[in-house]
Symmetry: C6
Subunit: 269 residues, 6 copies
């Protein structure tokens, strides 16, 4: 199942998105039956855009939290702040989402601290509750509430991985890069560069993605191809734009960079 990063046509208010598989229907089924969803896929393949699209399509508010090494359960649920000498409870983004309904999206969830699972588990089984130990409340999630989490499988390590007891609480969808023609259309629309001039850039991106795992930690994202095309459309020489937009962001290794430049020169001229 593959999903699109950007799309050619867009409706006002609804973030543009063209499905490359059945991911929209699956997401809607999951939401209607109150199943939480896990999105897997590499950097910049459109997971965030997909969630924004679905939230707009289903008419749901979207609460996004970018997870990181120091994110704790309290950052999600809330904490007491000092106000006028007294402590006042302040809801976190997850608590707000549970109170108001809608989608709560935890981006790169494996980065968060381990105590975050404590608030996810009771929300992702048949209880669908959010216990707030500090206030003594136990919030029941409304029907419209849906939990969506994402991560990049390429980054998982022994220290940073979802435990099976957490993973098995989600319906999971894998995202990948766009097929060439779709990617050309997306890049052309986003950058204003003609499809004919975008085609070799997308071709180069495909070649660079094939090197992932050998010399590169991760393949070039569609976002970088858009950057590169934008610079070219603004008048930057092609070679400079490719270097700044598609080579330098990938690696610092002198030898790898030389190899990538060889590939680029052979394909772009």
């Amino acid at each position: 199942m593959k999903a699109a990063l950007h799309t050619v046509t867009s409706a006002p208010e609804l973030p543009a998105y063209v499905a490359s598989g059945n991911e929209c229907a699956l997401f809607e089924h999951a939401w209607r039956h109150q199943l939480p969803v896990l999105l897997k896929g590499p950097t910049g393949c459109g997971k965030t855009r997909f969630v924004a699209h679905m939230a707009a399509r289903l008419g749901l508010p979207l609460h996004t939290v970018a997870c990181h090494d120091d994110l704790t359960a309290a950052d999600l649920t809330g904490r007491y702040l000092l106000r006028g000498g007294d402590t006042v409870w302040t809801d976190g983004p997850l608590t707000r989402a549970v109170r108001e309904g809608g989608i709560c999206y935890l981006d790169e969830v494996v980065e968060a601290r381990k105590d975050v699972t404590v608030v996810l588990h009771p929300l992702t089984d048949d209880r669908r509750i959010l216990p707030l130990e500090r206030t003594g409340e136990e919030l029941a999630a409304p029907k419209s509430f849906m939990l969506v989490v994402s991560y990049n499988p390429g980054y998982q390590t022994l220290l940073k991985a979802l435990k099976p007891s957490t993973r098995q609480r989600f319906v999971a969808v894998e995202f990948g890069f766009l097929p060439s023609e779709q990617e050309i259309a997306v890049v052309s629309t986003e950058s204003g560069l003609s499809p004919e001039r975008v085609r070799p850039l997308v071709g180069l991106a495909g070649r660079l993605r094939a090197l992932k795992g050998h010399d590169l930690e991760e393949g070039v994202s569609t976002r970088l191809v858009v950057y590169c095309a934008t610079l070219i459309a603004a008048g930057t020489p092609i070679a400079d734009a490719v270097l700044a937009g598609m080579i330098e962001p990938l690696t610092d290794d002198v030898d790898v960079k030389a190899a990538l430049l060889d590939v680029a020169r052979a394909m772009i001229g």
Copy 2:
């Protein structure tokens, strides 16, 4: 001794549960003789449901705490909060359970910080007391109070394991997956999919569980089979539902995923 995750018939107020062994009698004996109980078993095999069932059956309030890496003794017993410039003691869930009686259930107790044992030990020997060092109180547990802890033996590591001095304070019960016919009935009831259509899904789950330890960290839970059947009942093509509900949540490894898909195709067609 095997215990059921879900059951076919359910009475109002009493969470549905069908015992697969003598675990209900054993639990009741333990409660009557004030012995603490330790539940062992894999993800989603019904430990939490079993405790909810027994609490309702014995007419006891149930206090559940999901343990995690940062959970400390103070999260269980309580702490001082600032109120109007003064510090006010606020009971934690364990303290509330000891004051009011009933079951206090610590889910995945091995995840908690080590100082938690300090509040468990005096509650699990013949003293049955909860000393609150911060307030200077020493609460005696009422007869109705029972401590139940659980963990998943598959996760134990050198760093995260119950010390013998803690383990030996509990009567222990091991839980496993449901026998096939019971699991088919449970999944059919929960998902609304007919038992005939559920049967191959449960068969597939059994095959995937047999791979645990080789390629998979943990076998597929009954919860995931319910997810998969729910998606099928909602109109998702079977292959898509199996992928999203029973394969993607298990692994990110390309080779393992391909192997699981081969198994699935052979069994589901």
Copy 3:
């Protein structure tokens, strides 16, 4: 020198205890000459009970502290708490014991943080003082004050061990399991099961203890034998009670568990 966990006869107010050696006389001599005492021995062998017994026998109040990974000197001595915008000093359990006299018992002292030694050292040499740096006080221990610490030598690691400079401040006593006949009497009294029915359980416990170090981290405690006998007296089938009370609490390893069950079946039938 062996000491009893529980005893058959008990006097009101005085926790039952039958000495298996000269430990009571030794303890009393140490108390009279103001020597601190260190109790060594495995889980559940009766160290805590022995201290409670001696405290009652000598007519001394008993202050018990269960030590853990996060226990600091301040948890023992006290700290400033905020009251009405002001900081008010609150004694910890050790400080209370020094002010009021009696026995202060630090259970599993090797678990405590290293700064705890700072309050133990001046209390265990000829100064017998407790300096409270935060308040500027220096309390002299009264004649009746006695410091008792315990630990389980089986748990000591490089990171968690008493330094010689601390150990050499204590008279030390080692505790072990009860002789069979004494253990049968204790278990029978505690569980209500007849001595004849207890005898094979105690025999099994002896066999399981002999496996310690090979397959088991620690042998079965008398407490677990009491649990097992209690379940049998309550009507649980013997095999189920042995599994839940004497096997499952010892190990999660499938092969070790099978070996223990073989031993159990051979001895219990």
Copy 4:
């Protein structure tokens, strides 16, 4: 693409800078199309000066943050401070930059704590927002806002490296040392020493830079050559100035220092 550290002529208000490639045009294109920029290069090669130059040229305020091991997201976004018993929100430098527009420059961004990425990601994709979880605000960056980050690839380690998911959000430019003639002009202008007397110092610097990776962790920066020339212009003997300005700051190793002195004596005499 190479960029100059310092330049010979300077205009009032505009920090002097002579481009050695197309980096100025590229930077301006990136700013006009709202693309974030990543500057890579060794110590003291002029990255900070380049950003100051471009900020002045584009008429933008410049907010600089030197990143370090303990820099957290809150240091960038802001925090609550206690004022008169109440907590008052105080903007951090990134928040001020987003509110007011202009360039926010994070120097040596790989040094910062991992939670910093959480505030960079939504600012570097098409949302261009800064979510302030603590205040509940979500600031939209104005058109004039631009995020620039820099780091030294020579320092990256496994623990300290930009994740691909962060790197791929930037157009990247690599900086190196100045060509000889340009460096001679810069050093002469900055130090007041005549170009003929500067020439052998720059020649020596080139030789020392060639040793990087073998005996030296990093080559001598143009800044150090300016220091050396300044000391000579002030009357310090050449050998002393070279030792204090170009040898001692590079190494503490006795053998390496002797080798560097040999090189210096051979070239300077």
Copy 5:
């Protein structure tokens, strides 16, 4: 240079001490010329007693601080405490000693946190000042102020060692165990057991000390011999007293303990 732990005769107010070398004269010279002193030696060899003796002899107040893993500079110098909503500075023990004069004794100084050196260095060179960064004060030590530190060389590890830049700020004295006849006299006086009955105990202690480094981490201290003799004088059988006072406190290893018992039986009978 050897120093005595305890002595036979004692004057009121002056802690008993019999010098075994020139340590008293050396200490007094150091004090008169304002040189700081470092005492090295094993557990319980009398370092603390020696300092108490010298303080009394020189008529100086003695401020003792037992150092530990968590002791910081602020614990020595002082900190702000909240009083009535305001922060009030409270001197630590080192600051009090500098303000009032006299000896400040840091016992086991290698245990303290590294920032402690920051307050020791300016006090131990010709400045003799204590800078209090938090209050902005810079206290000049009076002539009578003397800094004394001690540690046990047997415990030093790579992580816990005095840096040369700290060590070289002290005149150093090494302490050892007492010669036999002096130790017999001390033990007899302290325990009330006759010298003839003490003699074999001291002989045994000498044998056990010779095993240090092979099977024992540290030899038996004079304090333990006193404990053992005290128990014997109170009526404890000799074998029991030796076991509790001189064997059990030394080791938990079964084999080592058996070897020590063999030695004890051969010597005591």
Copy 6:
């Protein structure tokens, strides 16, 4: 380039110092041209004394900070303290030095926490500013302000080393021990012992310094020779004074100590 620890003649107000090279002129040039200075050298070789001398000579206030493991940027720049329920900013020593001008001397700078570089970098390039993120201020250093840092190259480890990006911001000077005749004069003046009696001590110090790297972590400092001579002048026997002043402070190793004593006996007699 060698510098003297102490000198024979001293002027009132000006700390005595006799230059052994051109270090005074170099320091003055650096100060006039606003170049920061880095002093390298072993323990007690006179770096601190040199800075005090130069500060007095140039008529500048001197702000000294002894760096340590826990020293953070906030310790240098300042922090908010609670006063009457409000937070009041309090300048740290570096901020005071920047506001008032003069020399700020960070002793053993490699010991400080890594975030300290964040305040050093903008002060050591052409900006010469101190940004105070917490108050929002950006202080411009006055012309008289000079930053001086020192460290001991012998202590640098992988974890504790100046990064090139920090080192290359300083003119660097290396310090060593005094030539014999100068050292004899210094020791004689400081201790009151005649030069003839000091000569063999300085000779012994030279021999012991030659052992550095083999058996000794660092050679004996001039300070220790002064201690030793002071004890001898006070009447301590030479052998005792050498042991306490020049041997015991260097090592705890029994074999090394024996070797040092052999050297001492051979030279002192």
